[in-house]
């Protein structure tokens, strides 16, 4: 089935950008100039950290969301409304708890106008295909997460869509079941004959996409954009332990981490008025990372950290970046190491930790600016709006709401200043 890049284009995104209107009135750009083609006979994966808009791309291609700019084409024609050739497998299953397995599949065949007399046969066929025989009359609440997602898959392939969209399909399924489901989905796809011709999946799991996809689209965040597209030449069935597989996984890492974690050398050169945005992670996450490193001799592979802590890779990178800004860790290549300050921090008493943390925070322009502001007007409360204004002024492209929340979380940990949620004001500790 793997015909590489020669299949005809089933669906394409051309210059898609998307913005969400926020309740306060301003707009948040989530996608920037996405160009993407899905050809017949391939599995394409969108890989990226949370918040990079990968699920939004999938929904735009399915016609559920209309992009602010750019077009979707199906078979060369501009898409208006729903993409009729696509069916979606949802992250949260989205099954009907009041219907049996059979009925869950039946209703979509009825609604999509499957020939009436053949519905019964088609339901039996698909239910068998996904390994749900014997569960025909069970209700979703009686099934495990893996079994529920089998129903989700059965429902999607029952209507014989030419495109099967899967939105993080295995993230709510336990690890072992996910592994077998991946293989089964590929089997179904290879055996299915005409439809589904192609699969588009969204994932944040590097191994998963290397196992499944022919083409891996690596996305970056804020706003979501395509960073690079990698072809996966490995023949199926793929073996997670084969050296080729491992090499590909590592290359993807390097692509992601190489961009997300610039080496220290570039960091210190900053224009004088530069204010750094804070990565979206809490102080306790950073402390957790430092403890983790300390327990492993002060050095660890960033990928290993993600596996050990069972955290999403993108989130780990964010935490590492946070620690790096405070000069607590270094990131040579894929490794993360504790710096002298980091070591001092992990050895310190809880009270001293706060002092170290505060000292490191004050190295950052953002905290210094706000601290100076508070110190200058000791009797006057500094409002949330004022601080947010400073953020917006210096970092117009950042989403100031989460940034402000983060700022407060970091500052509270270091006892730099306190924040009263009711009056929304900052004051000296």
């Amino acid at each position: 089935m793997n015909v590489g890049n020669n299949g005809k284009i089933l669906c394409a995104a051309a210059g898609i950008s998307h913005e969400f209107a926020k309740p306060e009135g301003n707009r948040l750009k989530v996608l920037d100039n996405i160009n993407l083609q899905i050809r017949s006979g391939e599995v394409v994966a969108l890989l990226g950290p949370s918040g990079c808009g990968k699920s939004t791309i999938l929904r735009i291609l399915a016609g559920l969301i209309k992009p602010t700019a750019g077009d979707v084409f199906t078979h060369g024609e501009k898409l208006a409304g729903l993409n009729k050739g696509a069916a979606i497998v949802f992250q949260g299953f989205a099954l009907y708890p009041w219907m049996t397995v059979t009925e869950n599949v039946e209703v979509v065949l009825k609604s999509t106008g499957y020939p009436f007399g053949e519905i019964g046969d088609r339901v039996r066929e698909t239910v068998k295909m996904v390994g749900l025989s014997g569960f025909e009359d069970a209700y979703p609440r009686e099934l495990s997460g893996g079994m529920k997602q089998r129903v989700g898959i059965a429902r999607a392939i029952a209507v014989k869509p030419e495109l099967l969209f899967m939105d993080e399909p295995f993230s709510q399924v336990d690890a072992l079941t996910a592994e077998s489901l991946r293989a089964e989905v590929l089997d179904i796809w290879e055996m299915a004959g005409a439809n589904p011709q192609s699969i588009l999946m969204v994932s944040h799991d590097i191994k998963e996409v290397v196992y499944m996809a022919d083409r891996i689209v690596v996305l970056g965040a804020h706003p979501g954009r395509i960073r690079t597209v990698m072809e996966n030449p490995l023949s199926r069935p793929r073996d997670y332990r084969s050296p080729e597989f491992q090499r590909l996984v590592e290359r993807l890492h390097d692509i992601i981490s190489g961009h997300e974690m610039p080496d220290v050398a570039v960091e210190p050169v900053m224009p004088p008025n530069f204010i750094e945005p804070l990565p979206n992670c809490s102080a306790s996450e950073i402390v957790g990372l430092l403890e983790y490193l300390d327990a492993r001799g002060g050095i660890a592979d960033v990928f290993q950290i993600s596996v050990d802590t069972r955290r999403e890779f993108g989130q780990i990178i964010t935490i590492v970046k946070g620690a790096e800004m405070l000069d607590m860790v270094d990131t040579p290549k894929r490794m993360v190491t504790l710096t002298a300050v980091g070591k001092q921090f992990t050895k310190a008493s809880p009270e001293d930790r706060k002092n170290v943390w505060r000292g490191q925070m004050l190295q950052l322009n953002l905290f210094r600016t706000i601290k100076e502001l508070i110190d200058k007007h000791p009797e006057q409360a500094i409002s949330k709006e004022l601080v947010q204004e400073i953020i917006v002024m210096h970092m117009p492209f950042e989403n100031y709401e989460p940034l402000f929340d983060n700022l407060i979380r970091w500052a509270r940990y270091g006892n730099l200043f306190s924040y009263d949620e009711t009056s929304e004001t900052l004051s000296p500790p």
């Binding site: 929904r59 399915a62 559920l64 729903l82 009729k84 050739g85 696509a86 069916a87 979606i88 949802f90 992250q91 949260g92 299953f93 989205a94 009907y96 708890p97 009041w98 219907m99 059979t102 009925e103 039946e106 209703v107 979509v108 009825k110 609604s111 999509t112 106008g113 499957y114 020939p115 009436f116 019964g120 209700y139 979703p140 609440r141 429902r155 209507v159 014989k160």
Partner: protein, 578 residues
């Protein structure tokens, strides 16, 4: 799956005939009920008889109770239809929704007497010769006490469908009717049943007013439990009052055991898994008995298949017929027409009201505002007093599983009991104690509205997560500290919900609390409730319109400004959901 409504034929013969006795009993009961309702039909079609002569003998009571029950259920049926249509329309049509939702808020705050004159006069004019008009008027008055919160609940269920469910319905191209049957109605069912229970109680609250009322010095009385009670009160016949009281309890308990309890248990299957909660431990003996019935099993299966049945079969697989231009044009013009109709009705009502109100002088307006202010103060005293006792008691009940099991159903019954039926006894007590009605009415309003707070507090206290409870115990917090540190904040969101409902209830109750009768003598104190009921009796529609308008405006304003903010705060700060 084959469509076999009567089960697999072979199994039929194997069962002994005695296995069917529950079916026989059930069918006999149904037949009995229909026979009883036939009497109601005779009453409706009988000659116009505005003031029915009520027989105070206890033997006549079962028939009256059955009549009232029939009216309540008929009103409920109308409420349900209204809810489905209005809620669906408001949720689906953004433009109409922007008018319909606030309108619902206003309708909710208009007391039943605000609807009475228009409804009664119009319907009697429509059916001058038979009782149909008067009966319909009574049913519609009960309906105005039931419908609004059901409609709100249904609207919110429709709007809060999880996004993935919405997307799945779109991707698999459910048309509106399929979406309604397969997704929206099932997911709204649970909330609808709970709100129906509340609504039914709301309908009983004004049963006496809805069955026996004065309009422009003219007496209207329909045969029913509410009229029986008011006649008993007028005559000071205490035994008859006690009988009416018992009959009301019987109706409420019967409805609870035979209708609501089985429904709430049965409807649990129609819940999206994400929205768990509520009382999972409840069970219903009646439902267990019903599930043994072959007749009902067949009916349920039939209903299920009806729900799952395909609607229209599109011509070609994967390409459902594109909705034609004419069809789309018709739909959009229908929407505009309905929207215009609503606006038209609203403008007409506003013009009528303005006309009525325009003739009032400054002194009358002053009286209206002064009365509203007095009642406003009473409502807040009521909330304060109710909170003082229900908060600790509710927490104590909710905290102990044993107390919860016994007392929750009792509180539920107490909450559905129409408090106005107790007022005559209370008034006699006030007179004996030389307590003025100005203060006494606060107690009456309290009697009618405290249950909402108690009920909500119990529910929230019972739902405090076990680990939080264990934490407070393991840190050896004293009893008082447990209350202030854990339970009071944990129940706060529910307390706010209780306040909102109780405040609405108290405003409504003021109408029957500030003007009462004692041994046939009217007794009143200053307040907007008294002003409303007196002006309705006198047929002074100018004052009535002004009073209703001011009261509705104040209630809506309080909802928006005070309660809206408080519940926002409660959700943000004290919600245990996060």
């Amino acid at each position: 799956m084959e469509w076999m409504p009567w089960g697999v034929p072979g199994r039929f013969r194997l069962r002994p005939l005695t296995a069917y006795w529950p079916d026989a009993v059930f069918i006999l009961c149904l037949a009995g009920l229909f026979y009883g309702l036939a009497g109601f039909e005779e009453q409706i079609t009988a000659h116009f008889r505005p003031a029915f002569e009520i027989d105070l003998s206890p033997l006549a009571l079962p028939k009256y109770a059955l009549f009232s029950l029939a009216r309540g259920l008929a009103a409920y049926a109308i409420s349900l239809i209204f809810t489905l249509l209005y809620g669906y329309w408001a949720a689906k049509d953004e433009r109409a929704g922007s008018i319909l939702v606030p309108l619902l808020d206003v309708l909710q705050s208009i007391p039943v007497l605000g609807f009475m004159p228009g409804v009664v006069l119009a319907l009697i004019a429509l059916f001058p010769r038979s009782n149909i008009g008067l009966e319909l008027a009574s049913i519609i008055m009960i309906f105005t006490g039931q419908a609004w919160n059901m409609t709100f609940g249904f609207y919110h269920s429709l709007r809060s469908l999880p996004p993935e469910q919405r997307e799945a319905a779109a991707v698999f191209r459910f048309n509106w009717w399929q979406k309604l049957r397969w997704v929206e109605l099932p997911s709204a069912a649970s909330g609808l049943v709970w709100n129906s229970m509340m609504s039914m109680a709301g309908g009983w609250f004004f049963l006496m007013v809805s069955e026996a009322f004065m309009l422009g010095e003219r007496d209207y009385r329909l045969p029913g439990l509410g009229s029986y009670m008011s006649v008993a009160v007028d005559k000071g016949n205490y035994p008859a009052m006690a009988w009416a009281f018992l009959a009301m309890i019987a109706i409420i308990v019967a409805l609870d055991q035979l209708l609501w309890r089985p429904l709430t248990v049965w409807v649990r299957r129609y819940r999206l898994e994400e929205s768990g909660g509520e009382t999972d431990t409840d069970s219903s003996w009646f439902l267990e008995w019903l599930t043994k019935l072959k007749v009902l099993k067949a009916a349920e299966l039939g209903l299920h298949h009806l729900m799952m049945r395909p609607t229209k079969q599109p011509a070609h697989p994967l390409t459902p017929p594109v909705r034609g231009k004419i069809e789309r044009w018709l739909l959009s013009s229908l929407r505009w027409a309905l929207f215009a109709a609503v606006i038209g009705v609203l403008l007409y009502a506003a013009a009528q009201l303005a006309g009525l109100v325009a003739e009032l002088g400054v002194a009358e307006w002053k009286a209206v505002w002064y009365s509203t202010f007095l009642t406003f103060l009473r409502v807040f005293v009521v909330l304060l007093a109710a909170t003082l006792w229900t908060l600790p008691v509710g927490i104590l009940i909710g905290r102990s599983p044993a107390a919860l099991k016994i007392l929750r159903p009792v509180v539920q019954i107490a909450a559905s009991f129409p408090a106005p039926m107790l007022f005559p006894v209370m008034v006699a007590l006030f007179i004996w104690l030389h307590l003025s009605l100005g203060w006494g009415s606060i107690l009456l309003m309290l009697l009618g509205s405290q249950w909402y707070i108690l009920f909500n507090v119990i529910g929230a206290a019972a739902a405090v997560p076990a680990d939080l409870k264990e934490a407070t115990v393991s840190f050896r917090l004293s009893g008082w500290r447990q209350f202030t540190a854990l339970y009071v904040p944990a129940v706060f969101p529910a307390l706010v919900t209780g306040w909102v409902t109780a405040a609405g209830g108290a405003w409504n109750a003021s109408i029957v609390a500030e003007k009462v009768s004692y041994n046939g003598q009217p007794l009143a104190t200053d307040g907007i409730g008294a002003l409303i009921s007196q002006s309705a009796e006198r047929g002074d529609f100018h004052t009535l319109a002004a009073s209703i308008m001011v009261m509705a405006a104040v209630v809506v304003l309080l909802n928006r400004v005070l309660w809206g903010r408080l519940s926002g705060l409660a959700q943000e700060r004290y919600s245990l959901g996060k």
